[in-house]
C-alpha cells in the first residue's frame, strides 16, 4: 500500500488534450474516486498511473518512488476494467492465479492465496468455472479478486460498476467500499456517476477537460463547490443557476439583483468582485423553500410535478428563469398553480463571470 502522487502530468492525443498539467495526491489506504463527464481524461489518468499510456510530461510516483519510466508489470499496480477483461480461456481460479504465476510464486503458495481471496469475495464455489459461465456480478468479483490477490501497492478500478444492473450496482458499491476498509487497500476508482462518487469516496477528484476542477471530501464538494462546473456536476437533481448582477458590496456580503426585481444579499467574501458585473447565482433544488418564508421569495408557476414517492421534483417558471425544486413527501400541487419560492441567502452560491465561486462565509 502506498500513496500515489502525480505532478504536472500532461497527455495529448494529437490535437486533443486529455490531461493538462494534472497535480493530484492520492492518499494511502483510502478510496479515492476520480469523477467527471465522459471525455474528461479520467480513464487516461488511470492508464498513465498503470503504465498503459505514457505521459507526455510530468511525474508519477507511488510511495515516493518515481514509476513513470517503468513498464506496467513493474509498477505493482493492479487494475479492474469496465468489461472485467477476464481471460476467457481460463477458469476463475486460473484468472486469479495468473498475476501470481507471473510473479513466479510456487504452486502451493498460489493455491493458498487464490483460495483466501476467493473466500473474502465469496466466490470459492465458482473457482472451476470459466468466465462465460459466470454472471456479470460474479465476473466482477473474479476481476476484483485477480487485482487484490497479489496485494498491490494500489488498485485502479475503471468504471467497475457501469456494466451491472441497478440493484447489483448498489450491492457491489457497498461491497467494494467494505472490501477497501477491510483490507486497508489504496484504491482509485474512476466513474462518470456522481452518486457513485459521493457514496463511495473518502476523497473525490473532479476532472473536467483534462484539468482538476476540485479535490475534496464528498460533502466539501457539495457544500463548497469551487466553481460552477463542480456545483452543477455534484448533486442530483442539478443545482439551479440564475443570471444576476452585483449591485453592492457590503460588510454583510454581496448584494445581487435577479431578473424580476428580486434582490438578495449573499453572505460571501467580495474578493475581486466588482459592482455592476454579471454573475451567476446557484441554489440547489433541495434548498428552495415552498411557501412564504422570511427569505426573499419569487412568485412562480408550476410547470411540471414528478412524484417519486419519498420526494418530488417540481419544475417552475419564475421571472428570474426556470427552477427545479426538490421536496420531501407527496405535494398536492397541480400544473399551472402559482406559488411562492423562498431563496435563503445562506444557501446560495455565487459564481463570477468565469464560473469561479466567490467564497461563502457561512457554509
Amino acid at each position: 500500500m502506498a500513496a500515489i502522487t502525480l505532478e504536472g502530468v500532461s497527455k495529448r492525443y494529437g490535437p486533443v488534450i486529455a490531461l493538462d498539467e494534472i497535480d493530484i495526491a492520492i492518499p494511502d489506504r483510502a478510496l479515492t474516486v476520480v469523477v467527471g463527464p465522459s471525455g474528461c481524461g479520467k480513464s487516461t489518468l488511470l492508464k498513465v498511473i498503470a503504465g498503459l499510456e505514457e505521459a507526455d510530461s510530468g511525474q508519477v510516483a507511488i510511495g515516493g518512488e518515481r514509476i513513470d519510466h517503468l513498464p506496467p508489470a513493474r509498477r505493482n499496480v493492479a487494475m479492474v476494467f469496465q468489461a472485467y477483461a477476464l481471460y476467457p480461456h481460463m477458469t476463475a481460479a486460473e484468472n486469479m492465479a495468473f498475476p501470481l504465476r507471473m510473479a513466479g510464486l510456487g504452486r502451493a503458495a498460489i493455491a493458498t492465496q487464490v483460495r483466501a481471496v476467493a473466500e473474502t469475495l465469496r466466490i470459492a464455489d465458482l473457482l472451476d468455472r470459466k468466465p462465460a459461465a459466470l454472471s456479470g456480478g460474479q465476473q466482477q468479483r473474479v476481476a476484483i479478486g485477480r487485482a487484490l490477490v497479489r496485494d498491490p501497492a494500489a488498485t485502479l478500478l475503471d468504471e467497475p460498476l457501469s456494466n451491472l444492473d441497478a440493484q447489483l450496482r448498489a450491492d457491489m458499491r457497498a461491497e467494494i467500499a467494505g472490501l477497501q476498509k477491510q483490507l486497508g487497500a489504496t484504491m482509485v476508482l474512476v466513474t462518470h456517476d456522481q452518486i457513485e462518487a459521493m457514496t463511495l469516496a473518502e476523497r473525490i477528484v473532479v476532472l473536467n477537460h483534462g484539468r482538476v476542477a476540485q479535490t475534496g471530501g464528498p460533502l466539501d464538494l457539495y457544500h463548497r463547490p469551487a466553481n460552477r462546473f463542480v456545483a452543477g456536476f455534484i448533486g442530483a437533481p442539478q443545482m439551479n443557476f440564475l443570471d444576476c448582477r452585483i449591485t453592492a458590496l457590503g460588510a454583510d456580503g454581496i448584494a445581487v439583483a435577479l431578473a424580476g426585481d428580486l434582490t438578495l444579499t449573499i453572505p460571501a467574501d467580495p474578493g475581486a468582485a466588482r459592482v455592476g458585473v454579471a454573475a451567476t447565482l446557484g441554489i440547489r433544488p433541495e434548498h428552495l423553500a415552498l411557501g412564504e418564508t422570511s427569505d426573499p421569495s419569487l412568485v412562480c408557476a408550476v410547470t411540471r410535478v414528478e412524484r417519486l414517492g419519498a420526494s418530488a421534483h417540481i419544475t417552475v417558471d419564475s421571472a428570474a428563469g426556470p427552477l427545479r425544486v426538490a421536496i420531501a413527501g407527496e405535494p398536492s400541487l397541480k400544473e399551472g398553480e402559482s406559488l411562492a419560492l423562498g431563496l435563503a441567502p445562506a444557501r446560495c452560491h455565487l459564481f463570477d463571470a468565469d464560473g469561479i465561486a466567490l467564497a461563502s462565509r457561512t457554509l
Binding site: 498503470a50 503504465g51 498503459l52 513498464p71 506496467p72 508489470a73 513493474r74 499496480v77 493492479a78 487494475m79 476494467f81 469496465q82 468489461a83 472485467y84 477483461a85 477476464l86 481471460y87 476467457p88 480461456h89 495468473f98 498475476p99 507471473m102 510473479a103 462465460a132 485477480r146 497479489r150
Partner: protein, 276 residues
C-alpha cells in the same frame, strides 16, 4: 405454409444437387479403384467383383509409403512454419500500431496475386542457391509463398478481435510481451490458427507444380507427383485402377483432418471464443 414447404423442398433439392456434383468424382474414384483390366471401361455404379490388388500394387510398384511420409513431413513443416510466422506477424499487424501497418498488410495480400508459374523459375534459382533442390525442406519453404499470406491475414483478423482490455490486463498482471502472446492471445485466436493451419495443410498436401519442379528422385517426391507419375506396363497403358486407388488413399487423411477439426472451427467461430 405451402410456400415455406416449397422453399424447403427447393433447399433440399439444391443441396442434393450440390452434394452430387462435389461427391460424384470421389465416388467414381473409389469405384474405379476397385476395378481392374477391362472392367474399368464398362460403366458400373457398383464394382461387381472388387479388385483390392490395386491398393497393394500402389505400394509394391513404387515407394508410395515413402511418398506419403514425404507429404506428411512437408505439409506439417509448412503448417508449423506458417503458423509460427503468422502468430508473430498477426500480433504485430493486429495489435501493435506502427506506421505503414496498412501498407504492409496490403503487400502481404498482394503477394498472392502472382500465379505459381510466374514465380516458378525464380523460385527454382532460389531453392538451388540455398542448396535445397530435391529436398523436402525446400518444398516446405516454397509452399510458404502461398500459405503465409492467408495465414497471416486470418490470424491478424482474429488477433484484432481480442479486446484491448484483455491485453492490458495481462500486461498489468505482470506478463512480459511474449507471455501475453503465448498465454493470452494465442489461446484466444486458436479457432483462427486451426482454420488457417488446416487450409495450409490441404494446400501443401495437394500442391503439384513446385513439387514436380523442385524434386528429382522418387525418394523425395510427394504424393500428387507420385500419383501423376504412376505408369503402366507400356507407355500406351494408363493404370487407372492404381491411380484411383492411390488417390483414394491420399484423400482419407484430409477427410479425417477436416472431420476432426471442423467442429472446433465451427464452434470456435459461432461461440465467439473471444467475447470478453
Amino acid at each position: 405454409m405451402r410456400r415455406r414447404r416449397l422453399a424447403r423442398i427447393g433447399l433440399y433439392l439444391g443441396a442434393g444437387a450440390f452434394l452430387a456434383f462435389t461427391l460424384f468424382p470421389v465416388y467414381w474414384a473409389a469405384v474405379s479403384s476397385l476395378e481392374s483390366g477391362a472392367a474399368l471401361f464398362t460403366i458400373d455404379y457398383w464394382p461387381r467383383d472388387p479388385a483390392w490388388e490395386n491398393y497393394s500394387d500402389v505400394f509394391a510398384d513404387q515407394p508410395f509409403g515413402r511418398n506419403i511420409a514425404n507429404s506428411v513431413i512437408v505439409a506439417t513443416l509448412t503448417v508449423g512454419l506458417s503458423l509460427a510466422l503468422a502468430a508473430g506477424a498477426g500480433f504485430a499487424l493486429g495489435r501493435v500500431s506502427f506506421r505503414g501497418r496498412r501498407l504492409m498488410l496490403a503487400v502481404v495480400l498482394a503477394t498472392t496475386m502472382f500465379p505459381q508459374v510466374a514465380v516458378l523459375a525464380g523460385m527454382f534459382e532460389l531453392i538451388r542457391g540455398l542448396g535445397l533442390y530435391n529436398n523436402l525442406a525446400g518444398l516446405a519453404l516454397s509452399y510458404l509463398l502461398f500459405t503465409l499470406p492467408f495465414t497471416v491475414w486470418v490470424v491478424t483478423t482474429f488477433m484484432r478481435q481480442v479486446p484491448a482490455e484483455i491485453e492490458a490486463a495481462a500486461l498489468i498482471d505482470g506478463a512480459p510481451p511474449w507471455r501475453v502472446v503465448w498465454s493470452i492471445l494465442l489461446p484466444l485466436v486458436r479457432p483462427g490458427l486451426v482454420t488457417a493451419g488446416l487450409l495450409a495443410f490441404i494446400g501443401a498436401w495437394n500442391e503439384f507444380l513446385f513439387a514436380l519442379t523442385f524434386t528429382l528422385t522418387d525418394a523425395a517426391r510427394t504424393v500428387p507427383v507420385a500419383i501423376a507419375l504412376i505408369s503402366g506396363a507400356s507407355q500406351y497403358e494408363l493404370p487407372w485402377g492404381r491411380i484411383m486407388a492411390a488417390s483414394v488413399i491420399v484423400t482419407l487423411p484430409i477427410v479425417a483432418l477436416a472431420a476432426v477439426f471442423q467442429r472446433r472451427i465451427a464452434t470456435g467461430l459461432a461461440a465467439g471464443a473471444i467475447k470478453g
